[in-house]
């Protein structure tokens, strides 16, 4: 067995998959919930950046993980609220507004990194706190499975709980029902007295909430510092994930798992004698391939069965 294959079949690989999947899953849930309400949020990149940065700086200055967590969440939600304000109130195109916010987030975090850490690249001079790892009692002693599932950062378990939370919000609350109705037929929602813009705003704020966790995990779990543009396109990969997952909880989780696996694979392959530029290309390449295959499939399906939904609703 080749060393690469051996290491991929090891429990450490399974562990790594869950680790790299975590920020993708959070971001994907953020994209999914806004998409459910019919507005596509491509500002997850920016949301994660401001949350990651805020979390690191606040934790370094206050020494409190709880305050850092709250600050990070608030920062992410504020950015989502700004998107809502531009799009819903000022009627700006949501894609353009989100691109602007992504660039704003990238710029302001670099600027503030320089102010606080006197370095334009990373905040490594600041002592950031990190979220703790959790060893799950019983499970950790199961061979192999224990090695894969136990000992993760608390936010990795949080991501799995977030899938459940997303499911409950969307399918078990009146808000979720309204979000779905607004996404499917805003006129129908409006005709029964639902404030469409308000529901869309709530969905965007929730999107900021999920995305903020992704950012916090990146800077205070995955590593322990903020680095410029450290999201590295995860906010966009999340869009691919949700498309593949059909915006549904389990689908989004499985798609995240797939992309997590590809990312982990890229890390493992990096140990071989392959140019690193090529290796870091793999996750993006897979994104493109998966989306292409998916949309061809979807079109075939559509051609076979014309959408009935369009005709009268």
């Amino acid at each position: 067995m080749s060393p690469l294959l051996r290491s991929i079949l090891s429990p450490e690989f399974g562990f790594a998959v869950l680790r790299v999947m975590t920020p993708l899953l959070f971001a994907a849930l953020g994209v999914a919930i806004s998409e459910m309400a019919g507005s596509i949020n491509i500002a997850l990149e920016g949301i994660m950046l401001v949350s990651a940065f805020t979390g690191v700086v606040v934790s370094a200055y206050t020494g409190s993980l709880v305050i850092a967590l709250l600050a990070g969440l608030i920062a992410g939600i504020i950015l989502a609220a700004m998107l809502g304000y531009f799009h819903l109130k000022l009627k700006a195109d949501i894609i353009l507004a989100a691109i602007a916010l992504n660039m704003f987030a990238s710029g302001i975090t670099i600027f503030l990194t320089f102010i606080f850490a006197h370095d334009k690249g990373t905040t490594s001079s600041l002592r950031s706190l990190v979220f703790p790892d959790i060893h799950i009692p019983v499970i950790k002693s199961i061979p192999i499975l224990g090695e894969i599932l136990s000992g993760h950062n608390i936010l990795t378990y949080g991501a799995l709980l977030a899938v459940a939370l997303y499911y409950i919000i969307i399918f078990k609350t009146p808000l979720g029902l309204r979000i779905r109705a607004v996404g499917q037929n805003p006129d129908a929602a409006e005709s029964v007295g639902i404030d469409v813009n308000r529901i869309k705003l709530y969905a965007l704020l929730l999107s900021g909430f999920f995305g903020a966790f992704g950012g916090l995990y990146l800077a205070m779990g995955y590593v322990s510092w903020f680095a410029r543009d450290m999201t590295a396109g995860r906010g966009f990969i999340a869009i691919a994930i949700t498309t593949l997952g059909g915006y549904l909880p389990i689908g989004t989780f499985l798609a995240s798992l797939l992309f997590g696996t590809v990312n982990a694979l890229a890390i493992y392959i990096a140990s071989l004698q392959i140019p690193s530029e090529f290796v870091s290309l793999i996750p993006y390449l897979v994104t493109v391939i998966v989306l292409a295959v998916y949309s061809v499939q979807a079109r075939r399906k559509k051609a076979r069965k014309p959408t009935k939904a369009k005709e009268a609703v």
Partner: protein
């Protein structure tokens, strides 16, 4: 009889200056089915929007159960017991019947969670109360249209509607579904509900209504008991107006057929047959008028002839050559010019200049461009000539089209199309919404085009226009050609009406 709704002296002028309702007054009696009929654009829908709070009139009052009401939104209307079933149903396709039913007034479990069991329960109860047989746990998109419409009616009933407005409810239904709907409506009447039924289909109106109001030209023509009116009466009241114009003289001689439409059928994505075996020829120096109430397949026919839509069956020949599979540009180059019915959507790019609009169909040809460069000097000259020739009122040829008046925008389209190299002109609603002077001008241009030996296909919702210009008239109803008249000077709008409304049919004209 007790009145549930009284509408008095409604005046509604839209911001673009269109008068949609003028001095409209009508009483709706409680526990009746009241039909409001009229051609498209007669003002029926605007009146309903006023009653349902979607739009507010400039003048007039509405009384509901004797009290004056002032509705700001549909939500207000629902609150007091007015429900509306829109032509395009207001349902979320991926939600179940029960979920759609409780949307906005969801039953709760433990103050936070949606109580889906309760939603099923109340939906079941209300559907049983009214004797509706609908699956409550299926997604809307998996239900046939007739059932979806019942869900929509039930939704209004669930919100305690006493007055139900149905806007053209039979448009997407099969004859069998229409029967079911009508039984439902009669049942609802027995439950004490009042129904306003908007339609332009006379047969249906006669079949279901207790009272009938006819609208025409933004005004109420009459309100009568259904038993006092025959279908012919209604047709006359809807479209038969005095004709006070001079018909243009017929062409001296007509040549060979230029456009030949053969057995065209069209079935849309929703599997509805919108055109059924349509055939006709148009000859040199002939204006063929297509009369019909809008929405009977005219738009699809125009799009098929100009290559914007693919026919399901049949073929079209330009000077004997089939246009099957050809692009609109190639079809234009074969000799078709097209004044589209949707001026702003298909006729012009309104954010660009007159010059640019004049050359969109010819920019790639010499002398408008050479290799990869547009020859602006030539284009400007060309544009100035068109502006002068077609008497377009504009500051310059570089003015943006959107700053012109409707009539002048139409002239821009007409100028471009008539100045293109063509032998066949498709003129759809060529004078819609433009002033009388411009209308006269366009009519003269059409006559000149005809006299130059070209074939013209004239499609218009304005019967007077059809009668004034046409050499020959065909009538379309429900996607079929139901009549053909060659002796145009002898016929009147009153005579065409029954054919346009599907009351009469010439057997010979079909096929």
């Amino acid at each position: 009889m007790e009145k549930i709704l009284e509408v008095k002296g409604i005046l509604k002028i839209y911001p673009n200056g269109v008068i949609a309702n003028k001095d409209v007054s009508v009483d709706i009696e409680k526990n009746t089915i009241h039909a409001i009929v009229g051609e498209n654009g007669a003002g029926k829908t605007t009146l309903m929007k006023v009653i349902f709070g979607i739009t507010q009139p400039q003048e007039g009052e509405v009384f509901y159960k004797g009290e004056k009401i002032n509705l700001k939104s549909p939500h207000d209307a629902i609150e007091i017991g007015i429900g509306m079933v829109h032509q395009h149903l207001m349902l979320a396709p991926d939600l179940t019947t029960a979920e759609n039913m409780v949307l906005g007034i969801e039953p709760l479990r433990g103050k936070i969670f949606l109580n889906i069991d309760k939603a099923f329960e109340v939906t079941k109860k209300v559907s049983q109360d009214y004797g509706f047989d609908i699956p409550i746990d299926k997604k809307i998109k998996d239900l046939p249209i007739g059932i979806r419409q019942r869900v929509e009616i039930l939704k209004a009933l669930f919100r305690n509607a006493e007055l139900l407005i149905l806007d053209e409810p039979t448009t997407f239904l099969t004859p069998q579904e229409i029967d079911v709907l009508f039984n439902t409506l009669k049942d609802l009447k027995n439950h004490g509900k009042t129904i306003i039924f908007i339609s332009h289909k006379l047969k249906e109106v006669k079949q279901i209504a207790d009272r009938i109001t006819v609208m025409s030209d933004a005004k109420i023509v009459t309100t009568k008991e259904a038993s006092e009116l025959t279908e012919h009466d209604i047709a006359y009241l809807m479209v038969g107006r005095d004709i006070s114009f001079e018909r243009i003289s017929p062409p001296e001689k007509m040549g060979k057929p230029l456009l030949s439409v053969q057995n065209i059928s069209y079935i849309n994505d929703e599997n509805v047959k919108l055109l059924n075996n349509v055939s006709f020829d148009i000859r040199e120096s002939e204006i063929l008028g297509l009369a019909g109430v809008e929405g009977n397949g005219q738009s699809e026919l125009i799009k098929i002839i100009t290559g914007l839509l693919k026919a399901s069956e049949g073929n079209i020949y330009i000077k004997g050559e089939s246009i099957k599979g050809l692009s609109p540009r190639v079809i234009r180059e074969m000799g078709i010019a097209h004044i589209p019915e949707d001026r702003m959507g298909y006729g012009v790019a309104d954010k660009t200049s007159l010059e640019e609009n004049f050359i969109v169909d010819r920019y790639y040809k010499s002398p408008f461009s050479k290799i990869f460069r547009l020859i602006w000097k030539y284009i400007t000259n060309h544009s100035r000539k068109l502006i002068e020739q077609f008497k377009i009122l504009t500051l310059s040829s570089k003015t943006t089209v959107s700053s012109l008046s409707g009539g002048n925008i139409q002239k821009v389209v007409v100028a471009r199309e008539l100045s293109s190299e063509h032998e066949i002109l498709i003129a759809a609603q060529p004078t819609r919404g433009i002033d009388v002077g411009s209308e006269e001008h366009v009519h003269n241009l059409l006559k000149n085009t005809r006299d130059a030996g070209k074939a013209i296909f004239l499609i218009s919702a304005d019967l007077d226009e059809i009668l004034k210009l046409s050499t020959r008239i065909i009538v379309i109803y429900n996607g079929e050609i139901v009549a053909e008249f060659t002796d145009v000077p002898k016929i009147s709008g009153k005579y065409l009406g029954p054919y346009m409304l599907g009351v009469k049919k010439q057997e010979a004209a079909v096929g």
